[in-house]
Amino acid sequence: MTAMATAGDVGRASGRRERVAARLQQGGALVVVVVVTLVASLLFGGRFASVDNLLGILEASSFLGIVAVGMTFVIIGGGIDLSVGSLLALSAVLAAFGSQFGSVVAVALPLGVCGLIGLVNGLLIARARLAPFIVTLATLLFARGLAFAVSDEGNTIFRIDPDQAVIALGQGSIAGIRIPILLAGLAFVAGWVVLNRARYGTAVAAIGGNEEAARLMGLPIARVKAAMYVTSGLLAGLAGLLVAARSSSGQSTIGVGLELQAIAAVVIGGTLLTGGFGSIAGTLAGVLLLNVINNVINQVGTLSSYFQQVVSGVFLIVVVLVQRYLTREQRL
């Protein structure tokens, strides 16, 4: 009797700790963003905390953010997508190339091709059951190669004519806010709704948590997984399209290493690389954090930009160590 009572007490106590730990893990990145932003505002005043600078941070975050939404789903589903950086470059090149045939082609061509490559990723991973890491590594090479092939080995940089409607996607604004920021916001809201309120989101988390159990529950594993990679490809394509529209050109050399930044943002946001659990809001915080740190380091004129990489690396280590500690708490 007494033994059982104590066991119950321990259970209750650890339940509370567990909830605190879970909340910290989900909201930790958000807290750090707020703290870093406040400290930077105090240190640099108007130089950092001006509307222009903050909107600049949001705009810089929007491209990575759109890619990171797709990556969050892939990682929650137990996979990984290394091809997004190359897809972004391919999309930018195709958008600029396609713009000579009109704005419709400039939008449809990159999204179509990136969606298709995402589908190839999805089929090879979901149907042929190859390892996501190696499949998307191959498409990383392939998409970059295709981007080079289209642009004459990178020697041709296609320009988008200033009077093409597609330019507005990158340079236009609604109510003073740039369209990429709005689209990124839309992607995060849609991602949140799908992950937390739609059956598809539950299926992704179930598959990432325990694929065998999900199969026994009758979930259409292959279809859900393939859709994950198609979405990730399409979002990377969208980001590339926006980059092209923003800079009025498509360069085949952009986006190298973007996949790693996206993974870092997702992990900092509290999503576990083991799959099954994650948060879109956390990813938003992760993306913002990377860009705020970047911006702050630029404000400190004396620090070389290389320190940004060192700080990001150290930061990532601290975050995963804290996460590791918190998930251990949850398991207790």
Binding site: I80, L124, A128, R129, L130, A131, F133, I134, V135, L137, A138, T139, L140, L141, F142, R144, G145, L146, A147, F148, A149, E153, V256, L260, I263, A264, V267, L273, T274, S304, Y306, F307, Q308, Q309, V310, V311, S312, G313, V314, L316, I317, V320, L321, R324
Partner: protein, 323 residues
């Protein structure tokens, strides 16, 4: 369990054995076909200068792939190798004033320290290898740039120049170094308890703990070894180019090394390490690039062909796993 697995095999032993044979040796078959093609259709391919060039060019990737094969054998991965190369290169240039021996020692030691951090994060803290080494990929490259103040440094030193370009019996020293590394790693994997521990951990980490395998120590050692080999590759690259440029040295080499390992037949799921296959995989990817370039196909085609080869290789291996 065992019965159901062996039953289909008994039904079609011939077909299965053939599939197994192809899957086991696909990388060698591919390599031989490619060499045959080149001997027939590429002018000057068989000349000693060209053969030497191909070997010299594959050395950095091959050395790193050998370390990577050990890490992948434990079901891990090391994304930080390119940044470790850059750190080693920067340290080498920085400490050259104290003589080449000191400089090389510091460079290798610097790499080993990064490996130690990787190893502690993975084995003691239990962080996933891909995240731990991603952090050091990002931070390590930054550190190398900070060390070198972001500049390219020319490296003039007779000892390093000898390492970079001299030959012994017509064989370049860097190739001999790579061969020596391959022999040592090969013995380590096939003849020592350490090698058996690696495969045991990759096969089933929890069972290994229960079986008394020193999992932590083995993982620590393997990440240190992989990083030290990456540093060695960084030293060799710097010696060959007579320059240290931390923003470019080893960029994306982690992907080439992982490709060589996987194409060579070591599965990403761990539990199996193939040293000869890894070397053949590195050479295959190198020769594909060289072949396409000499036949006037652009760099973009190289990437796309390599992508197809990677998928084909894992598909064939997958066949074997499924059979």
């Amino acid at each position: 369990m065992t019965a159901t697995e062996t039953a289909p095999a008994a039904q079609a032993p011939g077909r299965r054995r053939l599939l197994d044979l192809v899957a086991e040796n696909g990388v060698y078959v591919g390599l031989l076909l490619l060499i045959a093609f080149n001997l027939l259709f590429t002018r000057r391919f068989g000349e000693i200068d060209n053969i030497r060039l191909q070997f010299v060019q594959v050395v950095p990737v091959a050395i790193i792939a050998l370390g990577m094969a050990l890490v992948i054998g434990t079901r891990g991965i090391d994304l930080s190798v390119g940044s470790v190369m850059a750190i080693a290169s920067a340290l080498l240039a920085l400490y050259l004033g104290y003589g080449p021996v000191v400089a090389i020692a510091v460079a290798l030691l610097g790499g080993a320290v990064v490996g130690l951090v990787n190893g502690v994060l993975v084995s003691v803290a239990g962080v996933q290898p891909i995240v731990a080494t991603l952090a050091l990929l990002v931070g390590g490259r930054g550190l190398a740039l900070v060390l070198a103040r972001g500049r390219l440094t020319e490296v003039f030193d007779p000892t390093l120049a000898t390492i970079g370009s001299a030959r012994v019996f017509e064989v370049p020293i860097v190739v001999l170094i790579a061969l020596a590394v391959a022999v040592v790693i090969g013995i380590l994997v096939s003849r020592t308890t350490f090698g058996r521990y690696l495969v045991a951990i990759g096969g089933n980490a929890e069972a290994s703990v229960l079986a008394g395998v020193p999992v932590r120590r083995t993982l620590l050692t393997v990440y240190i070894l992989c990083a030290a080999l990456a540093a060695l590759a960084g030293v060799i690259q710097t010696a060959r180019l007579s320059a240290s440029d931390p923003s470019f040295v080893g960029n994306l080499i982690e992907l080439s090394a992982i490709t060589a390992v996987v194409v060579g037949g070591t599965p990403l799921s761990g539990g199996r390490i193939r040293i000869m296959g890894t070397l053949a995989g590195a050479m295959l990817m190198q020769l594909i690039a060289a072949t396409l370039i000499t036949h006037n196909l652009p760099d973009s085609a190289t990437r796309m062909v390599q992508a197809v080869i990677i998928v084909a290789a894992v598909l064939i291996q997958r066949q074997r796993g499924a059979a």
